[in-house]
Every structure is written in structure tokens, then in C-alpha cells.
């Protein structure tokens, strides 16, 4: 089974270019931070409530990226604000991203292709090998959003993540998204890490807007 972080990057993958949408973006790094925290929560390594994140178990998970994240938040007190844990991991966004891509390659889902643009600039693409896993993630999301079924915890996580990064438009058309919006909102808020992540994205967006001229 793929981790939430792996599923998030798959959803962000553009099949035509073999690249990832907005990967350098501040918000995507926040979403990746949220994804690894959610993975750690699903493995019962961390727990959260409306205010705090508690590290329950620092023992290795066996997943390199999750152990890296567990180690990174190990610098914080055992009980901390969820937003502080997200901030620590967000700052490691590029490292998280590279580790998750490496895992997707190890799983045989992506392959790495080096190339040159205009015969000068080195480029790197990650084409999908057969796209089965991406289709499976999209199908799971679509099935859930178009039904009244109670979601399972992993489904809540992937919907919260996809919603926060605007990736649901890779699953649905604009009109489908509009008609499923109430259901998306209902499911996305069921994850408390997802709620903290969304709050952080709003704050980061507001801070960025202030920095921009005429913002």
C-alpha cells in the first residue's frame, strides 16, 4: 500500500510532461508535510487533538521518508502545536519530495529520465510506468465523493490533501467538482492534521500576498 505522501505526489504528477505540478511551491511543501504527519498518525506514531500533536512512539517505521520526518519533529517537545510540527517538516519539503520520488521509483511506479532542453539545460522527467496506481487513487477518490459511504481514514487523508492543493481538478471536471463540493468539504475537515495544514496554507498565502508588490 502506498503512503499518503506517495499518493499525493502521484496525484500531482503530470503524465504529459513527466513532472510534478507546483512542486517547488510553498503550499505543496506544506501539503507534503501534512501528508507525512498523516502517515505517521495512521501508523500511531503521533496523535493530535484540536490544539496539539503528541509523539507517541519514536521507533522507526521502516519507511525512510517517515523515519526522516519522525526524526525531524524529534527536535520539538513530545507535545507540541500541530502547526509547529508542520512548519518543521515544511522546511524540509524538498528533501521529503526527493525521498518520496525515490520511493515511487523503487516501487516501479515512476522511472527517471535525464535529458537536455535546447541541448544545454539538464532536465529530469519522471514518466509513469503504467499509471495503474494513479488510476486507482483517482478511482478511490471518485467512488467516495460520488457516494454516501462513510470514508475510511486513508480516504479522508487523501481528500484533505488533494483539496488543499487544488488537485481534485485532476479527478473531476469543474462542474463535477462544484456538485461534489459539499461532500468534499465534509470529508476534508474530518482530519485534524488536515485542518491545521489548511490553516497554515491560509496564513502562508496571506503572508505571501503582503510581500508581493500591490498585494
Amino acid at each position: 500500500m502506498l503512503t499518503c505522501a506517495e499518493e499525493l505526489l502521484l496525484l500531482a504528477h503530470d503524465e504529459q510532461s513527466g513532472q510534478f505540478a507546483n512542486l517547488q511551491d510553498l503550499l505543496m511543501n506544506t501539503a507534503l508535510a501534512g501528508a507525512v504527519l498523516m502517515d505517521l498518525a495512521l501508523l500511531n506514531r503521533v496523535d493530535t487533538d484540536l490544539h496539539s500533536l503528541i509523539v507517541l512512539d519514536r521507533s522507526p517505521t521502516g519507511e525512510k521518508v517517515l523515519d526522516f520526518a519522525l526524526n525531524a519533529i524529534g527536535t520539538l517537545p513530545a507535545k507540541t502545536k500541530t502547526i509547529d510540527a508542520l512548519d518543521v517538516l515544511r522546511r524540509q519539503g524538498n528533501e521529503l519530495e526527493q525521498q518520496v520520488i525515490a520511493r515511487l521509483i523503487e516501487h516501479g511506479i515512476l522511472k527517471e529520465q535525464e535529458g537536455r532542453f535546447l541541448w544545454v539545460f539538464e532536465t529530469r522527467r519522471y514518466p509513469l510506468i503504467d499509471g495503474k496506481e494513479l488510476r486507482e487513487v483517482k478511482r478511490r477518490i471518485a467512488d467516495l465523493l460520488l457516494s454516501d459511504e462513510i470514508p475510511d481514514p486513508r480516504d479522508i487523508v487523501i481528500i484533505a490533501l488533494a483539496q488543499s492543493c487544488g488537485l481534485l481538478n485532476r479527478v473531476f471536471s469543474e462542474s463535477e467538482l462544484r456538485s461534489a463540493q459539499d461532500r468534499i468539504d465534509q470529508i476534508a475537515k474530518m482530519d485534524l492534521i488536515g485542518q491545521a495544514m489548511t490553516d497554515m496554507m491560509v496564513e502562508l498565502n496571506a503572508a505571501l500576498t503582503k510581500l508581493l508588490p500591490y498585494g
Binding site: D47, E149, K189
Partner: protein, 110 residues
């Protein structure tokens, strides 16, 4: 956290007391899954439940899904204000029929 099981006329009641969080979620998950599989109607009495975390919510989510699949009834009763707040903010209040106390929950099943 303690869970005690009591039989009533119209349902089985599981009375929770203490905190439901990541330190006891695995054991609660097992206990709840077993109770849902044995009882067509189950009332979870939370009057003495002081605290619920994300891990606790996940346990309840799985139980709700199990009950929905088996077409069984799973009702919640006696949520304390702090637990109720978590349910409202997370939207979990839309997943369950909730009642002010166990008697009201049991009466709804008659």
C-alpha cells in the same frame, strides 16, 4: 480508559470512561469491532469520556463504517462539551445519531 458492556431492552450499551486516544486506540478498535459484529444495535455512552483525539475519532469512524456495511445501528449518547466540540469541528457529528443521554438513545430504538 475503561469500557463496560451492559444489556438493555433495545440495545447493548458500551459505557466509555476516561480518555480515548492513541495510547488505547488499538485495544478500543478491537473491542468495538467485536461489539459491532455481535449487536444489531449499539449505544456508545460517552457521559464519562473526558477526551478524544484523532486516533480515537479514527476508531469511531471504522466502527461507523462497519455498522453501515452491516446495516446495524450505532448511536452515541452523553457527549461532554469538550468531546462534542471535537465532533462538531471535525464534522463527525454528521456521521452519528447523537443523544443527550443513554436513555434518550435507547428510547429512540423502541
Amino acid at each position: 480508559m475503561d469500557i463496560t458492556e451492559q444489556k438493555a431492552d433495545s440495545a447493548t450499551v458500551l459505557q466509555f470512561s476516561g480518555r480515548l486516544d492513541g495510547t488505547n486506540s488499538a485495544a478500543t478498535d478491537t473491542k468495538l469491532a467485536d461489539a459491532v459484529s455481535r449487536n444489531p444495535a449499539l449505544v456508545l455512552d460517552f457521559a464519562a469520556l473526558d477526551y478524544i483525539s484523532s486516533a480515537g475519532l479514527r476508531v469511531l469512524l471504522k466502527a461507523a463504517k462497519q455498522a453501515q456495511t452491516a446495516k446495524q445501528k450505532l448511536l452515541l449518547a452523553g457527549l461532554q462539551p469538550s468531546v462534542k466540540q471535537v465532533f462538531e469541528i471535525s464534522g463527525f457529528s454528521t456521521l452519528f445519531a447523537t443523544f443527550p443521554n443513554r436513555d434518550a438513545a435507547l428510547a429512540s430504538l423502541k
